[in-house]
Amino acid sequence: MTVPLPVFVAIPLVMAFFLPLCGDRFKRLATFLANVAVLILLVLAITTIGKSCSYKVGRWPIPLGINMVLDGLSCLLLLTISVVSTAAMLFSTRYMEQYTAKSKYLSLFMLMLAGMNGVVLSGDIFNVFVFLEIASIASYALVGFGCEHEQLEASFKYAVLGSVASSLILFAIGLVYGNTGTLNMAYISQAIETRGLNHGLTFALAMFITGFGLKAALVPFHAWLPDAHPAAPAPISAMLSGVLIKALGVYVLVRLLFNVFGISETISWVLIVLGVLSMVVGVFLAVGQWDFKRLLAYHSISQMGYVVLGIGLGAMILVRKGDITWAALAILGGLFHLVNHAVFKSLLFLTSGSIEMATGTRQLKQLGGLSTVMPLTRANCAIASAAIAGVPPFNGFWSKLILVIAAVGSGFYTLAAVTVIVSLVTLISFLKVHRYIFLGELPDNLRQCRENKGTMFVAMALLAVLCLTMGALVLVPSLKAGILDPAVAVLIDRFEYSAKLLAGSK
């Protein structure tokens, strides 16, 4: 008996409008209820592993009504969103005591979570847009939550660029409706498969890539990310960098390009070029940063380049009718790196929040020698840095290895070389972070800092344990077949998505 899909959206929405009623007098009750709600969502997401179904909202049949679809790719992203949001919510029980209006923070967090779950589960393209907007508007408000100078400036910049992206996406949705006459993704893909792309649909495709590239912070469109992610409170940075740019940007782009529009050689080249540019530009701009969270934000851009490169590589191999195992391996590398990056990047942002709460600063030059006073945070940060740099046996190593093997096996030797070089530069920049924050002399003004224990440590430890053990997802065959292979199969089979959906509804 599968769980009905709308509960993934209904539970956060009901919580979001119930928590402000608790107000400031019942703050502890509100926080407790929020944590319970996020844990329930995690349990429900785990029960959806291996199932795929379609849910007709209101019992309206598909071309008339909206449906919610669960398949392998949606399940993978649901799990990622649930895990990261559980950790972020646990962390924010103590971290957000520094701010006033905690019940409004919890309500906005729940709205963002509802929006992301809705984007991942929706089967209708305009419904995707509505949930995308819910999540985006909640995140604009959360970035500027502290109302300090930099936070307001960053929030305004993010809001303007995000609105431009949303308008482009809506324009493209209008073009798609005008050319195909339906809004359901399965029906659109069927129409495109039979009739092919005309000028309007190609223009819509270009606008989709621009709009979703802006949301996912790929390189020509990355200008908002280095300002928005450092300015947000630490658990929100973890959510933004860990899941928002993936669920709103990469997931919808991949779903549209593979299952709805169909890939071609030009699109594969565009993906590969965007991926390589993001990787290289992100990492070289990150090495020179002296603000810890800004450095992490630039690394987010670089790691998203890995994901897009992996998927573009798989698309290119499929289009050229090469060996399907290499294409499956490339896409597997890209999707696994997406999940890994969610885990280790959010752990890094949570450790930066812990450091900031204890010492009051994020500038690398003012920190130093914290390994004596904050050993637990140092351990967590070391685990996450090793994971992002690709040190075995942490999870980052496995996904980068799979990407390099796929690139070499299908003949793209320059791409493999670029991947390895970017990994080395990532390692260099994290060695710099460690040397400046944890090793060296402890400055006098930081001698009174104490370690952050309690729920903050539990949240960070949860993610650290996942970093250590997630290599098992590719090494243990049953886990791989259960969780990762269905996601890859959805993308490789391309138009099978619409065929299965339409056959199941008759």
């Binding site: 509505v130 508007i137 305004f156 609105s163 409706y177 809004l183």
Partner: protein, 121 residues
């Protein structure tokens, strides 16, 4: 042809949001962009000489089904539902951006974005 004019309005809004230096004018540029997209969506459903898609008792024949002249002469109601949703979303975004603008004015004392530049690098 009307679609090209819609796109021109979109480009004007985008230009205004990118070029202007006053925060309030940037917000107005974004609003123009959103309304251009709404206009484009409405025009998609248009049918020359069509009627409003509201069913009245004369449009139903005795079995309860819809009379064919109605579907042949009414405009498409689906884009109208899309635009209603889009207007509400635009309202929410606009309210949020205006409140950010007000708070920024309280902190910095100016609406000029060239002077609100604490974030570098």
């Amino acid at each position: 042809m009307p679609y090209a004019l819609c796109f021109l309005l979109f480009i004007i809004g985008l230009l205004c949001a990118v070029v202007k230096k006053n925060m309030v004018k940037i917000i107005i540029g974004l609003a123009i962009m959103e309304y251009a997209v709404n206009l484009f969506l409405i025009m998609l459903g248009y049918r020359a000489g069509g009627t409003a898609p509201i069913i009245s008792p004369t449009d139903i024949n005795p079995e309860g089904a819809l009379v064919p002249e109605f579907t042949l002469s009414s405009v498409d109601p689906l884009p109208q539902a899309l635009v209603l949703t889009s207007i509400v979303i635009g309202l929410g975004t606009l309210a949020l951006m205006v409140s950010i603008c007000i708070r920024t004015y309280e902190k910095y004392g100016t609406f000029d974005i060239t002077q609100i530049r604490r974030l570098q690098g």
